[in-house]
Symmetry: C2
């Protein structure tokens, strides 16, 4: 996440919490100011509009995801690369559940002003999965689509974990995801 | 989907379209009336509140999903059962993209008045995947979590398909999902 001032940080944190509860449409700049404990003018001083605020929020969130996946993959390939990236996503989701829910709700919307920058960063995050799939299957034309399905599985699995079985460890959830990918799910 | 009157149907259709564009919070009963071409009083006559309207909408959507998965599985087990259920979800998503997006955004929220009934029906839908996994692995304690990851993969894959590669056929997308589950993704 890029370095931002303490005020900016508290505004962004307030915004993601409110949006994960009430949706972006249901969150006003006034709500954000109250939750962040700052004046409404300060919110507008830091972000010129609500759209700009949520654009930065989502770009930060998905940008952090892309950076984390890049580090998690490193120079690994094959199943170890997948495992490392699955662990990294689960850790992110577990550390920032409101952001994970917001990303799950926003990443496929096509009607937002921040759609194009978000899609660019999203593509960057999926690129790490695409690279691992292409390394194994250079000729498959559907590497991006499959990268999306793996990402969806981990994101939904991670939210499911925190909402319905928070007693499981990250390692157990990661094992479940890897088993799902192992070809043994139904035999 | 249960049989409902033509007016009720046009209200439900208007509501799902608006909510997939503006979110549920961003959709008013007035907007729904205008879009459905009915009087606002008629919306309230059919659904006592906005919460009741969206509760019925989501229960219908997830209920249809559960029924479709039950039929798709039939008496099949193993990979053929998975394939048949994957195809069925992709067909549903493709026939009702706004509902698919709404379900993707709502199914993990924990703050809605319709949370408990929706979770019941959600469990019913996932139960079909759980049954296939348990048939193959009676002792795994994580069948529900894995069912959630498979469902997430197909839902995200389906939305990804329609938004980013609508030129692909359902069969191609289903092949991609089955390949993702085959254990060969990264080798």
């Amino acid at each position: 996440m890029p370095r931002v001032s303490a005020t900016k940080r508290s505004i962004l944190d307030a915004a993601v919490e409110l949006a994960s509860l009430n949706g972006i449409t249901g969150t006003t700049m006034e709500d954000v100011a109250v939750r962040a404990g700052v004046a409404k003018g300060s919110v507008y001083y830091n972000f010129s509009s609500k759209d700009k605020l949520f654009e930065q929020l989502l770009l930060d969130g998905v940008g952090t995801l892309a950076e984390t996946l890049r580090e998690a993959r490193g120079t690994k390939t094959g199943a170890p690369a997948l495992r490392s990236m699955v662990d990294a996503i689960l850790e992110l989701v577990s550390n920032n559940q409101p952001m994970a829910k917001l990303i799950a709700a926003e990443i496929f919307r096509t009607d937002r002003s921040w759609q194009s920058p978000l899609q660019l960063v999203r593509r960057e995050a999926l690129a790490e999965f695409v690279a691992v799939i292409r390394h194994a299957h250079p000729d498959r034309p559907d590497a991006e689509l499959m990268a999306g399905t793996v990402f969806g599985a981990v994101l939904v699995g991670g939210i499911e974990w925190l909402v319905f079985s928070p007693d499981r460890s990250l390692q157990e959830v990661s094992d479940s995801v890897m088993f799902m990918l192992s070809g043994q799910l139904a035999d």
